[in-house]
Amino acid sequence: MTAGSLGSQGFAYQAIGAATLLALFVASLFVGVSELAIGSFASDPEALRLIMISRLPRTVATLLAGSALAIAGLVMQTLARNRFVEPSTAGTAQSAALGILVVTLVWPDASLGCKAAGAAVTALAGTSVFLMLAHRLPPTQPFLVPLFGLVYGGVIGAAAIFAAWHLDLLQYLEVWMTGEFSGILRGRYELLWVAGALVVLAWWTADRLTMLSLGRDVSIGLGLNYAGMLRLGLVIVSAITALTVVVVGTIPFVGLVAPNIVSRFAGENLRHTSPWVAGGGAALVLACDIIGRLIRFPYEVPVGTILGVVGAVLFLFLLLGRNSND
């Protein structure tokens, strides 16, 4: 309906968005320590190998993780009915890290897939508890939910650090808590395609997810299976978070910034906005990863650190801009 009424203007925005993403994708392929000139892989087999084994997997992983984290944030905000929560701050990522720790302890040689499965289970439990408690907070105080989330995530994170310290696994925990893509090679990132599939699932069920934000009574009145949809949303959030934490580590703020920017301009009808949120998250993480590769060249700054700074600034801007609008 809205896409139609916006007409050619909407099409122009889509073209600009797609072009930006494509430019970042190409830039990401050609930024790195090994020199790589555009057009050289036709003549140079080494260049092609570099692209196929390192640069392309890294870029694809960044795209998948960025879009999936943005969608996880969007879905979590729908579930909590609050715009200021996201998996990395409200306990989901911390629960996932705790889960990986447990799997590593019980079964040190576990594959990435097993670790991701263990992390997904604990993330699901941690997020369920968060939502159960968050729904009891008074809806008249919208900032209580994210504050509670920060405390809750902090407590679980502290428990993970304490356990890791006791077991002498702190270096491992550090890897899962700080997101970075420098270790991504072919064969090390493919699990993220599952996160990509969950993004498609979220888009497929976008109408139902949007109805969750109309509230329990309205959605049941319209014939939605409300409890079932809540559970599906929880699975999407937990699985995406667990997969990204296992493969690249925790990347903060993507799930907060991308959905909030899109919501301001295009609203929250997820059928129309979720492609924008996914694309925005991918662009944000790609841009921050490229900055991280260039800022101390030839060394790298982890994307999680860059996003911690960029995301916090963007988020403050959103919060303050919001107040002046209301």
Partner: protein, 252 residues
């Protein structure tokens, strides 16, 4: 027809509904009136399967509300509760469009779009169609929710104090619209009303509740009487026939 038989409800140890039995015939406008805390909203929630049934039996068009698939019920019955707290930043037309959800698989058809446009027009929302609902006034948002409920296109429409926040123009418009769809399309409207004169003017039947039970029910003319109104609301008031309309003078 809505049939309610032996329905009781207890919440947190207190009795909200006590063995309520009631039949709302198909077609026409039935007003549910009574003092605060009488159990009107709770009864509406039970009929609309928003709360689990603790005891007794409720059927709508012969379908038991506790065992019929929710989506099937959503095609014959729409409910609008008081202040449902819609938190989403949707455009008015998108919100109203969700009223078509029970009927569609996937995308809206041309017919759905016609119904959406007609609902918007009906409630004076066409100019606001592309506005985000979080930028509307309370009354405009209430109209958007009513329009979504109408857009569901069901035979049974349950409304819990829909006149809240509406100005006189739009309150009258809503009541006249309800009257018209009942008369022209045979719809069944069950509406909780606080203003007894709206009930007196527009309802075919009135059901009065107090302390979790139905204390009076019948044709509007049989309920809008000083003695019955006093037993419901606890003070005496005059009833006059002004220009052919029963009018309750409850302000004195």
């Amino acid at each position: 027809m809505i049939e309610i038989a032996g329905v009781s409800l207890a919440l947190g140890g207190s009795r909200i509904l006590d063995n309520v039995s009631l039949t709302v015939p198909k077609g026409g406008v039935t007003a549910l009136v009574g003092p605060n805390g009488a159990g009107k909203s709770s009864l509406l929630s039970l009929i609309a399967r928003l709360r689990p049934l603790q005891s007794g039996r409720i059927t709508v068009d012969g379908l038991p509300v506790d065992t019929t698939p929710s989506r099937q019920l959503a095609r014959i019955m729409a409910i609008l509760r008081q202040d449902p707290g819609v938190a989403s930043r949707l455009r008015v037309a998108e919100l109203v469009g969700f009223g078509r959800f029970p009927h569609i698989r996937g995308r809206l058809t041309a017919k759905d779009r016609e119904i959406i446009a007609a609902s918007l027009e009906q409630f004076d929302l066409s100019d606001l169609a592309l506005r985000f609902i979080d930028t509307l006034s309370g009354g405009q948002r209430q109209r958007a929710l009513v329009a979504m409920t109408f857009c569901q296109g069901t035979d049974y429409i349950l409304l819990d104090e829909p006149l809240n926040n509406l100005d006189m123009f739009h309150a009258r418009n809503l009541m006249r619209t309800l009257r018209r769809i009942a008369d022209e399309h045979g719809k069944t409207v069950l509406i909780v009303l606080h203003d007894i004169n709206h009930a007196a003017s527009y309802a075919d039947r009135i059901v009065a509740m107090k302390d979790g039970t139905v204390i009076a029910s019948g044709e509007t003319g049989d309920i809008i009487r000083p003695d019955i109104l006093e037993s419901i609301f606890g003070f005496s008031m005059r009833v006059e026939n002004i220009a052919g309309r029963l009018t309750v003078l409850h302000h004195a």
